[in-house]
């Protein structure tokens, strides 16, 4: 009886304590019951497709991280007064281990997802749940995505564990006994080995289930381009001819079928004389107020997935109010509907303002700035704002949101100018300086012109004496020329030609380094803020073993923006070990 009494009291006490302590808990939270069990996940090719879409869906959530790591660490993007200390650390290269922006865990989560999908694809193939061709396409895509992620990790962290087996949790990666850290160089070797061995390196062919149009977007542009990735890996490695070969294959993507706009334009930086063009142009040449905003150069960042978009872009992922996740780039960049955490640096503005345009023919005066700057950033409410990512959200004519709640936009990863600049970088290092020069200035026809008075262009406008991949034929005889030529590359404009800026000046005899400097400079002008700046600077600094190449640029950014401790940052970056972020999972 006594025992009963005590237990009765205990129960009352317990119940009442619970009532007091957890009175506010939401007891109605229930786990969802409709969960797909692992064993039922991979049954046929459509399940495989769903897995791939799932991977890319998760990949999209890395967009802000990718842009911040690659641009804020570079010299063209800086933090605003709104930024927290972690963004400031990233910009000033004194990152502490607790910095959430530099935590590699989200990369590894996705990598482990890739590993799991790869393992299951192999099982599906073994069990005949997927055809050989279907397997090859899908396995290669996921494998290449994983290689892309590892390349990013290598660029930012230097030494990272290379995990290719399916693990249940990221914490298992921490076990250094099982997964030793690879140096960046060894990592690239492993990545080349793996990626080169992938059975399928083209985009998903038309008619396959992953190359469709969904919610108004061509899914074909969602997936990593395996040849571009391989080119990049070879370029990092220093295997320039192999890199150029991969890039060239992408450049020739559309060299088949009818010789029309797609044939001459796609990935060839050609013109078409139509709304697909991405020139810098003025409706009245010489009148600065007549700069064309739509279509032309700016429009490539805004336009829907039409032909003009298709000819320019190689890899883009959309953000749309119709699906998750929400666009994180508006929060980063926009003072309208966003937090405005980062802004263009003065250094970036100077790149554009110090690059003069071409004079109108017959005149000597010229506009003293590169108009791509006007399109890449602008002032909104007195604040400098990076605009490239915002053209689907902010109306360029009014500076206000098209629809404040529809935060549409795009994550730009790769386009034809990246491709051409990197091909040129490889060609330049392979000793083909003039080909590199042609690609980023005014194209082949301008770089290899016939002597004056010569109308037969058979021996000009081309580099056909070079072996593949350096043999370009851009011969153009004109409509009445004899013999008649309209070669595959005759419409190639060159990056500076398309942007209406004067050719890059090469003085003296050392073309190699000057052209390389010019290519990196051109990447800033043409592809600024598109997420490749840090990687570009790092690649050159590593190749030349010249820390000052990188350190000086960051120093200039901080100096011009009045960021404290510019000299200290420069001193830190003169030590190669400080080029990489602390790796802490």
């Amino acid at each position: 009886m006594k025992a009963f009494k005590i237990s009765c009291h205990s129960i009352v006490l317990l119940a009442l304590l619970l009532a007091g302590a957890v009175g506010c808990k939401k007891t109605f939270d229930k786990e969802p019951q409709q969960v797909l069990d692992e064993v039922n996940m991979y049954r046929d090719v459509y399940d495989a497709d769903a897995a791939i879409i799932g991977l890319y869906g998760k990949f999209v959530s890395l967009a802000d991280k990718y842009v911040l790591l690659n641009e804020l660490r570079g010299d063209m993007l800086n933090y605003t007064d709104n930024a927290d200390m972690y963004l400031r650390q990233l910009s000033s290269h004194n990152v502490t281990a607790d910095n959430p922006y530099t935590n590699p865990r989200p990369f590894y989560e996705l990598i482990l997802n890739c590993n799991d999908v790869l393992k299951n694809f192999q099982l599906m193939k073994r069990d005949n749940k997927m055809k050989e061709a279907e397997y090859n396409q899908r396995y290669s895509d996921v494998g290449a995505l994983r290689s892309f992620l590892y390349l990013q990790l290598g660029i930012h962290y230097g030494k990272v564990p290379y995990v290719t087996s399916a693990l249940a949790t990221v914490d298992e990666v921490k076990n250094k006994a099982n997964f030793p850290e690879l140096t960046f160089d060894a990592l690239i070797d492993s990545l080349i080995l793996f990626t080169e061995a992938l059975p399928f390196k083209d985009p998903y062919p038309a008619g396959t289930t992953l190359n469709i149009t969904s919610d108004g977007y061509q899914t074909a542009k969602f997936y990593v381009n395996k040849k571009c990735l391989l080119g990049d890996l070879y370029l990092w490695k220093g295997n320039y001819t192999a890199a150029a070969t991969k890039y060239r294959e992408v450049m020739e993507t559309s060299t088949n079928g009818t010789q029309g706009a797609r044939y001459y334009m796609q990935y060839k930086l050609g013109w078409n004389g139509s709304a697909e063009d991405h020139y810098i142009t003025y409706s009245r040449a010489g009148d600065a107020t007549s700069l064309v905003w739509e279509p032309q150069w700016r429009h490539m960042f805004q336009r829907g997935q039409d032909n003009g978009f298709d000819y320019e872009w190689i890899w883009v992922l959309p953000f749309d109010s119709k699906f998750q996740p929400e666009n994180p780039l508006i929060k980063l960049f926009s003072p309208v509907g966003g937090d405005y955490l980062v802004k263009p640096s003065k250094q970036a503005m100077d790149y554009w303002s110090n690059t003069p345009q071409r004079p109108i023919s017959g005149q000597t005066g010229f506009l003293p700035y590169d108009a791509r700057g006007i399109f890449s950033w602008r002032e909104i409410g007195g604040k400098p704002v990076v605009m490239k990512y915002l053209y689907n959200y902010i109306n360029y004519a009014t500076n206000s949101a098209v629809n404040p709640l529809q935060k549409n936009g795009k994550w730009f990863l790769y386009r034809q100018t990246h491709l051409h600049l990197r091909f040129a970088e490889a060609a330049n290092r392979a000793g083909k300086h003039k080909i590199a020069y042609a690609l980023f200035n005014s194209g082949f026809a301008a770089a290899f012109p016939p002597p004056s008075g010569v109308t037969d262009v058979t021996l000009y406008h081309n580099t056909l004496w070079e072996p593949y991949p350096f043999n370009f034929d851009a011969r153009n005889s004109g409509g009445t020329g004899v013999p008649y030529y309209r070669a595959d590359w005759y419409r190639n404009l060159g990056i500076r030609g398309r942007a209406n800026v004067q050719n890059y000046t090469i003085n003296g005899t050392d073309s190699l380094l000057q052209i390389e400097d010019g290519l990196i400079q051109e990447a800033a002008l043409e592809n600024g803020f598109e997420g490749t700046r840090w990687a570009d600077l790092l690649r050159i600094a590593l190749r030349r073993n010249d820390p000052a190449f990188l350190a000086d640029k960051i120093y200039q950014k901080m100096l011009k923006d009045g960021t404290p401790d510019a000299a200290g940052t420069r001193a830190r970056l003169m030590d190669k070990n400080n080029w990489y972020l602390p790796f802490k999972l």
Binding site: K5, H9, V12, L13, L16, L17, A19, G20, A21, G23, R284, G286, D287, A288, T289, I360, G362, Q363, T364, G365, F366, L367, P368, Y369
Partner: protein, 478 residues
């Protein structure tokens, strides 16, 4: 025993429930001052030395306001401070109301809020400066007596009810007569739709129709163009000069305002003198620098030794000086007309007009200019409109950059009318980026509106008749 224990458990349980839900946050910032329950009215009777102020309040319309539930700040002068109060104020309720209202403010201002000078809006619409333990000239002897509806600060001086600068100018004789007369002559009648009575809506234009004669408000050119000296919220420093000094200045400036009418000339010259006599902000005599820069960029030399009278105003300070002279050479600034900001053109040639961005190789600075080329019109011109041009001689310069053709061409400036031949055609050399002196011209009489034309050659040939201009500069030749 068992019963007792059950009650014990119940007690613990009740406590557990009540404590578990207690909202500590609600109480974290409540004031725990002993006076917090009492109104200012109750509090005041408990403070020594405020009986006189209380008595005045009781006589006035503010008798009950301090017992109300709004929030106030009261600067309460002690009995000693009120001894010197003019008895005519005490006996006149409307003046008494104004006097007391100058000691009471809406909202609660603690001395800890006044770490920088606060302009506190009082109930009479004036602002008093509150900084630390001072309000205007009075010291706060007992600060921050907080009640349920505000705070009392006990002060050792009254805060006098002052006029604002415009009231001093227009209703007193504090400033010298000639200048006062001039400032009042700048009055005019303006229309304020918010004060007008609307009688309907025009069915055609959709605009409101007002009853004739309503909405007419007094305005003054000085308020519009220089500073609105009635504004209580801001503070200004206003200078006035003695009549003889004013007359001397007037005679200096009259030749620049030649009109058909002596009065007009006097008014224009007078306005030119006084427009630089107001500075934003309050400069005490100790703070006055020897030179101030007026709103119009004119340097105003102030010799403190010349100050003959100082009048404090509710929105600043007025200094009367025996002399303050500004030479015309300092008063009349060069006029720069940006080429691209033209007011009109003789023909619509937008498609031949180029707004060009360039960097000047001489100065290294970026500029934008205008080029009209290939327009096909003889004597094509761009018109630049100026207003209120004084009668004087000007030197004219331009920067015109011919970087678009290898041939030179000619263009000319035509002051007044497009056909003026005051200036000959001037050759625009190739790539000359420097300022070119075109010559001098005289405006004989004051002009409310004045045009300058940039005229192309009398030719229809594209290479001969372009018009190009970065800027035109007119420098007073004094």
């Amino acid at each position: 025993m068992m019963k007792f224990r059950i009650y014990q458990w119940l007690l613990i349980a009740t406590l557990a429930v009540t404590i578990g839900c207690k909202k500590d946050w609600d109480q974290h910032n409540t004031v725990s001052d002993g006076n917090s329950g009492k109104s200012l009215k109750t509090l005041m009777s408990g403070i020594n030395n405020l009986s006189k102020f209380e008595q005045l309040l009781a006589q006035s319309s503010y008798a009950n306001i301090l017992g109300s539930s709004k929030s106030f700040t009261v600067f309460a002068p002690t009995n000693e401070a009120l001894i010197s109060l003019d008895p005519t104020i005490t006996n006149d309720t409307s003046r008494l109301n104004k006097f007391l209202a100058n000691h009471i403010a809406d909202l609660r201002f603690l001395t800890t809020d006044a770490t920088d000078t606060l302009r506190v809006l009082m109930l009479n619409g004036k602002y008093n400066n509150f900084f630390g333990k001072k309000v205007e000239e009075a010291n706060i002897t007992t600060a921050d007596v907080v009640g349920s509806n505000g705070v009392i600060h006990v002060i050792d001086k009254m805060v006098p009810n002052r006029l604002n600068i415009w009231e001093i100018i227009s209703t007193t004789n504090e400033i010298p007569a000639l200048q006062q007369a001039l400032l009042l002559k700048l009055n005019y009648q303006g229309f304020d739709p918010s004060k007008a009575e609307q009688t309907g809506v025009d069915p055609i234009t959709g605009l409101p129709v007002y009853k004739p004669g309503t909405g007419i408000v007094p305005r003054n050119k000085y308020w519009d163009r220089v500073y609105d000296l009635r504004n209580e919220k801001n503070q200004y420093t206003f200078f006035a000069i003695a009549d003889d000094a004013y007359t001397t200045q007037l005679n200096t400036y009259k030749p620049f305002f030649v009109t058909g009418n002596a009065d007009s000339t006097n008014d224009l010259a007078g306005y030119t003198i006084v427009k630089d006599f107001t500075m934003p902000g309050l400069y005490t005599q100790a703070q006055l620098p020897d030179t101030l820069l007026s709103k119009f960029g004119v340097k105003v030399p102030v010799n403190k030794a010349n100050i003959v009278k100082t009048v404090k105003a509710s929105n600043g300070i007025v200094y009367v000086l025996s002399n303050l002279s500004i030479a015309p050479v300092n008063k009349f600034m060069p006029i720069v007309l940006e080429g691209e900001n033209y007011s009109g053109s003789s023909h619509d040639r937008r498609s031949n007009t180029f707004f060009r961005d360039r960097i000047n190789s001489t100065t290294g600075l970026p500029y934008r200019d205008v080029l009209v080329s290939g327009h096909g019109v003889a004597l094509f011109n761009l018109r630049y409109r100026l207003s209120e041009m004084p009668s004087m001689k000007f030197k004219a310069y331009w920067v015109a950059v011919n970087d678009f053709q290898t041939a030179t061409f000619t263009q000319r400036l035509a002051p007044g009318v497009a056909t003026s031949t005051v200036f000959p055609y001037t050759t625009v050399a190739v790539n000359n980026q420097t300022e070119v002196l075109i010559g001098e011209f005289t405006i004989a009489s004051f002009q409310q509106v004045y045009d300058i034309f940039l005229v192309g050659a009398n030719s229809t040939t594209a290479a001969a008749n372009p018009v190009v201009c970065d800027y035109i500069k007119l420098v007073p030749s004094l």
